[in-house]
Subunit: 357 residues, 2 copies
């Protein structure tokens, strides 16, 4: 493998000093880029894009050709694991993800098979190997998974949900079945992330998109417990122990200290929580990733730059900040705003760090 | 007016001792009740239901005929104010609220007129008077408004929104116009709530449904500031000073102390925050309203009862708890679950308070 030419992300995740704050953007390979839309049209549909390593590699690299981002993130979907478990994923534009065979009773949870990661998810590992080769050491590659709770919401609801009626009904009515499902998914997530590392990813992130929909006791029982199991397993395994792990619960600001205590290296923070306050709460136990409101990118360039500078300054001249949005970039954003954002993060943090020495 | 026969709600809002914890349910007059669906079908559409005092009165009273609730809440919609400002509201089943003439530029904000409350919103005041007469002192009647920020989101977006692209674009690009809009809406909210009190409501609540979508500095600037102006104006006016005021920002757990410091009497808490922790944070400065996850009502009756008991016990034998869900009841809930919930709150709190003396 080629030596890594830009290690800012990995250094920041380990809370080591950097010359400027590393920046990447959730969904940086996405619909706001015309070249992404062209490749997706070529693929025909989203799932084919995910399952064709050459196309997944192409869209992973597209944002790096435009912007001096400090990381690539594997182009894939969080629902690949349940798809490999046989639930039958479809991802149609405008409809969102749907499973043909959602888990609607205790029996279907009991008989849910483990996925064959090398087989059914081999396309993800092929994409990782191809992207690493094409990146040629330019920036590190981030691998990822959905969190067990977030995957379980889709698996039980059969798709996206506003109120989580079915999965919360399961949690409250049959907590033992809910825990069995979460245990099975957790084991698969651990194996999947390990396989991604073996294929070449250099950092890991777990997206807990729907943890924030839970009450505090339910969050602890049904999401945090399994995030902690993932962190414990990865940190206890020589293959994955040194790979920085970021955990991100959207809407998880109330539980920041508890997420930081799982053994992860970095906690993702959405835009509702001020990053300075977040840093005070976790101290130097973990790095923090975030946290500009993605909607700021609808404003003019001057305002985007001002917000980026404000967030860099708010974190301050400490190690351990990975700049990102607080959630994925929206499809209607002008790519020019992203260019302005990335430059503002690099320039303002370079000034901050050089003043600090 | 008839004397008030059940003053538990008002006593709890003033943090005075009660024999049992008062309970009401956000959207208690709503689609989960077959008799509500029948009246709505009779009205033809939702807005006609809101604008016909006899029908609004009927649906307000329906849940009180089924359950021993401790309050009635005026049946209306938060978007009556912008409708009265001329934006042209439609509320179609499945589509959600839409404005024909949303505010898309600074000029339309500058020329936005104040509503004629006695005239254009007279139907609300007529409904209040009618409901008070029909209630005959059984329980107090709660009046309400949307928060300035929440109303502004609909007025600028033209309807519901997932990402608040337009209104956040306004906030970041043209904060002066955003503030002018919020000032205008705030003045109308104050006048509207005062008129509701003059017509007979005995408690007030402001619903800040979308404050939680903002970053902390933006929440302070564009939502909390105006909630505090409302609280200040109502508490400084002899007509409204003694009417208990509840402020509820959904997703506002991070800002609880700041909401409590506005001068309101009670803070609504969604289900993400443990009520015991919330009480520790605000001490005896305000009462708290909440906070069961509405999705618990999808579970079996036994579990609903257990959750209600847990929340009553978590708040503890202190004055100042108004039991409610953490957000509106969902349309698919079995009314039998609500019956079980109300009884569980009353019975478990009666036991708690009698043990405490």
């Amino acid at each position: 493998m080629s030596p890594l030419l830009n290690d800012r992300l990995l250094r920041a995740l380990r809370r080591e000093p950097v010359d400027r704050t590393p920046v990447w953007i959730m969904r940086q390979a996405g619909r706001y880029l015309p070249e992404y839309r062209a490749t997706r049209a070529q693929a025909g549909d989203f799932l084919t894009l995910c399952k064709t390593p050459e196309l997944a590699c192409e869209v992973t690299l597209q944002p790096l050709r435009r912007f001096p981002l400090d990381a690539a993130i594997l182009f894939s979907d969080i629902l690949t694991i349940p798809d490999a478990m046989g639930l039958g994923l479809t991802l149609d534009e405008g409809v969102g993800p749907r499973f043909e065979r959602p888990l609607r009773d205790a029996a279907s949870i009991r008989t849910l098979p483990a996925p064959d990661i090398a087989g059914d998810l081999g396309y993800v590992l092929d994409a990782v190997r191809l992207i690493r080769r094409e990146l040629d050491g330019k920036v590190p590659l981030i691998g990822f998974s959905g969190s067990p709770w977030t995957l379980a919401t889709y698996m039980v609801e059969g798709g996206g949900s506003k109120d989580f009626a079915r999965v919360k009904g399961l949690v409250y009515d049959d907590p033992d079945s809910a825990r069995l499902l979460l245990e099975k998914v957790t084991a698969s997530v651990i194996d999947y992330l390990r396989a991604q590392v073996e294929a070449g990813v250099q950092a890991l992130m777990v997206f807990d998109t729907w943890g924030g929909a839970l009450s505090t006791p339910a969050y602890r029982d049904f999401s945090l417990t399994y995030l902690a199991k993932i962190a414990g397993a990865l940190k206890g395994d020589p293959v994955t122990a040194e790979i920085p792990l970021t955990l991100f619960t959207k809407g998880g600001g109330l539980w920041l200290e508890e997420i930081a205590a799982t053994g992860c290296d970095c906690v993702g923070v959405d835009w509702t929580l001020p990053l300075g306050a977040a840093r005070m709460r976790v101290g130097d136990r973990v790095a923090l990733q975030g946290n500009m409101d993605p909607a700021v990118l609808y404003a003019g360039e001057e305002r985007v730059v001002a917000e980026a500078e404000r967030i860099v300054a708010e974190f301050g001249a400490h190690p351990g900040h990975v700049f990102n949005l607080g959630h994925g970039i929206h499809p209607a954003i002008d790519p020019g705003r992203v260019a302005a954002l990335v430059d503002a993060v690099h320039e303002s943090s370079a000034a901050l760090f050089s003043n600090g020495t």
